[in-house]
Subunit: 456 residues, 2 copies
Amino acid sequence: MSMEKVKDFVASNSNQLAFLDQLYSLLRQKSISAQNDGVEECAKLVMEMMNEIGITTKLIDTDGHPVVYGELINPENTFTLLIYGHYDVQPPEPLEKWVSNPFEPEIRDGRIYARGAGDNKGQLLAQLLGVKTYLETIGELPINLKFVFEGEEEIGSIHLASFVEKHKELLKADLVYTSDGSLHESGSPIVLLGVRGMLAIELEAKGADRDNHSGNKGNIVPNPVWKLIDLLQTMRDKEGNVLIEGFYDNILPLSDYETELLKKIPFDAKSVGEKIGYPQLHMNGETYYQKLIMEPTFNICGIESGYTGEGVKTIIPSTARVKLDIRLVVDQDPMDIFNKIKSHVSEHAPDVKVTYLGSMQPSRTNAELKVVQTVVHAVQQAYETEPLIQPGMGGSLPNYVWTKLLELPSVIVPYANFDQGNHSPNENIKIKNFLNGVICTAHVIDALGKSANRNS
Amino acid sequence: MSMEKVKDFVASNSNQLAFLDQLYSLLRQKSISAQNDGVEECAKLVMEMMNEIGITTKLIDTDGHPVVYGELINPENTFTLLIYGHYDVQPPEPLEKWVSNPFEPEIRDGRIYARGAGDNKGQLLAQLLGVKTYLETIGELPINLKFVFEGEEEIGSIHLASFVEKHKELLKADLVYTSDGSLHESGSPIVLLGVRGMLAIELEAKGADRDNHSGNKGNIVPNPVWKLIDLLQTMRDKEGNVLIEGFYDNILPLSDYETELLKKIPFDAKSVGEKIGYPQLHMNGETYYQKLIMEPTFNICGIESGYTGEGVKTIIPSTARVKLDIRLVVDQDPMDIFNKIKSHVSEHAPDVKVTYLGSMQPSRTNAELKVVQTVVHAVQQAYETEPLIQPGMGGSLPNYVWTKLLELPSVIVPYANFDQGNHSPNENIKIKNFLNGVICTAHVIDALGKSANRNS
């Protein structure tokens, strides 16, 4: 019954205005980690918002952007929840494709448009406001809370692992809770138990030391773009299979229970196709989730050489660069894959330079754990509908730092709408999803508290 | 004996200063045809310079940038030389690789650095100053002169052919004379009798209608870069052979005389390699000239997709574009090749868009013509060394408009140094080469006059 107060509190107009006001402030503050633009200022803003709620905070330096750490501890509580999120955002480019300024939030049709609206500022703030709502409606927290908000998720969380290693004592907890990614395309809430890993690399091919005239030197100077294309063709066949030796080693199959969970996820190809701007998508649900959750990718996220502006510039470029981001599944290891790629390149194109840009290990939490089932129940209560339990998802989060380094179970409960357009122009979060995130956070705190008290 | 006056005139310090002053003015005036930046202003400046010499000029509109036409006619002369050049330049990008501002000429080590220094403003002005020098030293011209300076050479001379078709009467002449390209790498002057043609196209592949997150949609949405790479691989093998059906049809072999001429061209792999920034060049002269003059190319001059800035942006790009410039040899026809490429693409990747960006037909003039031999002799007198006679060259000039549309012989006598860096950052012309161009122009006028008078 007491949880009705939470929903009423969030339903109040004046509270909603105050919540949106805070979200606007957060979205206006740039925090583009890839370009080191506004990151530290944003960390400080997040801390101020936490302090207002009564959370004790400190900025903890890393070798990169700092971590915002917070806690709200009552020694009498027996259960500690560690909430993780990130305050950095992707670069907004291409700017010309945004309908409104990516750093000046605008509401259109019940959605807030801005870089970071869904990924991850809207969700991070919903977590904080969930705590605030709990405190103002129910009262004292029944569990301890710790917060880790990092500033490098969009560049591969390069220092999160060393941060966690260094602060194992500080981060002691019973469960890690993350809100990132999106609800299912059907609108159903999700409890996510695993993520794909990632490896980002750059390949650079060289021709001559400078650009040459394509007429005066055509057929004489090698073209680095052709060099890259020839190399890339040895790395992947036309069906998309990766040809690097040993690439598919170490991939673990799903358990029977996990396979059953996958089958329960609804799928509407037409609707997915429309939402991702690819209406010609023809795939059944089983294939879709199999590809998205169980299979690694070998994606080219950027390629560049020569002159690509208006008209033609008839040159043989001196350099060609391609960036790849490769999603990995349990239990592929990014450094192992990186070394395999290096070996492959040194065999097929020894003068092509391979640069490591970042990586993340894949991870998975056992769906049958009691604490996982408690969260599932809380989400059901918050949304008043049964959530889907997904053993994995397509994207990458640094979940392994909890499951591998701290050996904790880790659940991911996304709050953003499926068509949030994260990493794309016109990123957005529906106001309804933002507010539901607030409610859900309060429910999870409450359920974990009750479960802990039953146990003690 | 009279030609000594020409050399003395050009050797004079005050004349040289005046010449350089004019060249500086011309180089300062942007005329980037691909970006429509300063083109018309430059045309007017060229006209002013011609008028000062006594040449009657008019600006003739085309459907693109205008042609500067000029003439200096004496009805008593029986021979008419048509001088061709271009006042437009390539875009200066990448700007950060220039040592000095591309549109503020700077002298370093006896070279003038600026965009257009070699290609083609320095050479165009040397032609004009050659006329001025003849008039001021020898006196009245022994032949009629016509001038065609176009403003679209760097974007494929798209309207030159229609201009020539429309003005056949106005352009009546006995020989066409062009100064573009560079002297041989040995420093030896060259008389060029042919050029490669060119076809520039763009291929555009589409994935989804928008960029997608590479995690959330990896393996689901097709990547247009891979689509392009798969297509490009069907168009060319790893040895560089073009796999498009019929691509090599219609290539004419050289005559025995032309083959002999090729063999006379000296070649120093080490020196060439250094000059083009590719010291690892290992090739003998025969292979080199064969590849450069006799073989078509299939060059990628630009490729672009996704995010290529700092860090990583983990997206599946929605679009990928590649620009190709394909050099053609006599008697490949650009439109025929374009149609063959279109057929190939529609067979292998029907959803890839092929866009025509520009083209030029290849051409060749018979080396054994008397008028060709007269020019060869004049060049020998000007440089006091035997010029090389090349039946063809690697680059492209719209020479076919003279040889095919006007059915005139056409000789190309380049004035710029081999390492002019045309189309690259730090383009330059040696002052010595610029001045030699002035002298050579005067000699050619003189020799053609004497030959015409002997005949009449």
